[in-house]
Each structure stands twice: as C-alpha cells, then as structure tokens.
Amino acid sequence: MINGLLNGVRRLGHRVVDMLWRMGVSTRFFLLLLLHSGQCFRRFHLIIREVFSTGVLSLIIILVSGLFVGMVLGLQGYETLQTYGSEEALGVLVSLSLVRELGPVVAALLFASRAGSAITAEIGLMKATEQLAAMEMMAVNPIARVVAPRFWGGVISMPLLAALFSAMGILGGWLVGVVLIGVDEGSFWSQMQAAVDFREDILNGMIKSFVFGVAVTTIALFEGYDAPPTAEGVSRATTRTVVTSSLAILGLDFILTAFMFRGV
C-alpha cells in the first residue's frame, strides 16, 4: 500500500522533472535555431523548398475548410440574426469572427496537423536513420541545414495561410448569405467595412497567426529532433506534436486576445 503510494509520487515527480527538462531543452533548441538562421537566409532556396512543402501543400485543405467554415457561419449567423431583424449585420459577424479568431486559430490547427506532423515525422525519421549524425560527421550543422529552413518556411507560410483562410471564409459567408439566402449585398459589405478596422482587427489577426506559426513549427521541429530513434518513438513524437501544438495554439490565443481586444 505504502509502496504503491510511494511509486505513484515517484512517477509524478519523474514526470514533472521530465517536463521541466524538456522545456529547458526546447528553449535552448529554439535559441540555437535562431542563432543558426543566418546561414539559411544566404541559401534561400532551402527556405523556398520548405515553403512549398508546408505552405503550398496545405493550400487545398486551408482553402476548402475556410470556405466551409465561412458558409456555416453564414447559415448559423443568419438564423440567429434574423430573429432580431438585423440580417444586414451578417457581414460583420462573419468577417469579425473570421479575421479575429477563426482564421488564425483554425488555420493554425490545420497547419499543425497537416504540416507540423509531417515536419516531426521527417526529422524523426532522419534521426532514426542516422542522417543527422551523418551530417554532423561531415561537419554540416543539422540545425542550420535541416531545422532552420523548416522553421522559416513554416513562419512565412502561416500568416499567408491564415489570410487565405479568412478571405475564403468571408467569400463563403457571402456565397451563403447574399447569393443563396438573399441578404442585401450593399449592406453586407458596407456594414462589414464600417465594423472591421485594419489595425485593430486585421493586423492583430496577422500577428496572432505569426505567433502561432512560430509556436507550431518550433514544437514540431523540437519533437522531431528529440524523438527516440525508433519507429514507435517517431510515431509518438508525431502524436505529441499535434496535441501539444493544438493546446499551445488555444492557450496562446487566449493570452493574445486578452492583450489585443480589451475594452473598446
């Protein structure tokens, strides 16, 4: 009985220490990554290739889900707004919820599961097959050659993807609200333009997506780099990337929202 309790405490302590240890290592990893970023900007084609694999290949899922999220917002928003007789505010509802919250957050969640998991699996497999060790043998720094370009590729892609998601969503809302249901087109756009502020709403949304991009790619890269070099290790690291970065996105979103949209 006492032995079991002791074991439980021991396991808890082990997990806490392990978590702190991982946090420290990941911070060091992040700083190392920034330190070695200079080299990869001189070899820009490496970043271009990563923008392709993280950004361009995520394009379809982002565009399609953006369209559907906007269409659902249009339908649901219309249902609720028409009970108050203010269907014209549909444009405001769709655009503000997309630009401020849904665009950056859902795009980042999709990005984490589409591109983040791929990054982790790729780097984890590189480690498992000792490609990273081989690079070190050839005096090539794997952080500068493999990790940093992926980081910047992800950071460049994320705000673009979030903007595309928001734009597609607003088009989806317009499609359902104006074309299908028949909300007045003029007031749909003009009320939207009156309510959405460039600096307050759009720029803050872009800052959010940039922060999410940094967080997701850092987590994905670290999990891959830190994965045990086995098949099971890589698979667990991939799962952990999706879970951790989703939680990080939602937590960071709350903090950023609290800073950005207080009052006014």
Partner: protein, 160 residues
C-alpha cells in the same frame, strides 16, 4: 540560376496569400475608405453619451462624414467630452449641432451632425456649442409611466 516548378508554385502561393491580405485590407477592412491624414478634429460635450464608442461613425444626412476619435470625461463640467474626426472634404458651419442617435432599435449609436446657417466654417480644434445627448431608454420609460399615471389620476378625478 536554375528555375524549378517548385519556385513557380511557391511564387503562386505567396502571390495568392498577399492577394488575400490585400482583399482583407481593402474590401473587408475600412483602410482607404477614410483617410485620417485629411481630417479635422472637433470637440463636443454631451450630457450623456449612452453607449457611444470610439470609432463610431459621425453621420450627416445619413452619410458617414467622420468617426469618433476619442471619448473622455471632463471633470470641470462633469460632462462627456467627445472628439470627432471629420473628413476635410466636408466642411460644416460653425453653429452645426451634434446629437447622439441610434441606428435601428438595437443598432449601434452614432453622432448625427446637423448643419447650421453660419457663414464661418468649423476649423480644427473648434468646439460644437449645440449638442443633444443620447436618449436613455429607462428615463423615457419612466417619463411615459409617469405621464400615464398622471393621466389616469386626472381621469379618476373627473369621474368623481
């Protein structure tokens, strides 16, 4: 420098992404619709601003001619001091009056400007003399109930 199809795709992606940002800025946001550089500021004191917020529109004859730039409380007069930023394309006479209105029954509140007859025009930093605060719904209902009770009292008196 060799070109690959990959570069084309990345170029396409970046171009589409920037186009989406431009769409958000110009079509969705109000950037460019109202240039704050070409504006003049006018102050107005209100007894009660109700639910007026900064960035609310200033309308004259229903047309948006500016925005509420700032709202503060004046401890000298115990009134709300509202700074209006008006588009310099629309000059207004010096004796124009401002009132706080509501668009629709539950809509947002805005400042309505009514042009006066003065020859002189408002300049930057001027203060509007004639203002009408927001209508507080509770006061209105209270007044209505009071009038009704008074009317009933009179009716009872005359019946006796």
């Amino acid at each position: 420098m060799q070109r690959a199809t990959l570069d084309l795709w990345v170029g396409f992606f970046v171009a589409v992404g920037l186009a989406a940002m431009l769409f958000l800025a110009l079509k969705v946001g109000n950037m460019g619709a109202f240039d704050s550089a070409k504006a003049y500021e006018v102050k107005a004191s209100f007894e009660n601003i109700g639910g007026l917020k900064a960035r609310a529109p200033v309308k004259s004859a229903g047309v948006v001619v500016g925005r509420v730039a700032d709202i503060s409380f004046d401890t000298g007069t115990y009134e709300a001091s509202v700074t209006l930023k008006l588009d310099s394309r629309y000059p207004f006479p010096k004796d124009s009056s401002a009132s706080i209105m509501t668009s629709g029954l539950l809509g947002e509140q805005y400042v309505a400007l009514e042009a006066g007859g003065d020859d002189k025009m408002l300049a930057n930093g001027d203060r509007l003399k004639l203002t009408q605060g927001a209508v507080v719904l509770e006061n209105l209902i209270g007044q209505f109930l009071y009038n009704k009770a008074e009317g009933e009292g009179k009716a009872e008196n005359s019946a006796q």
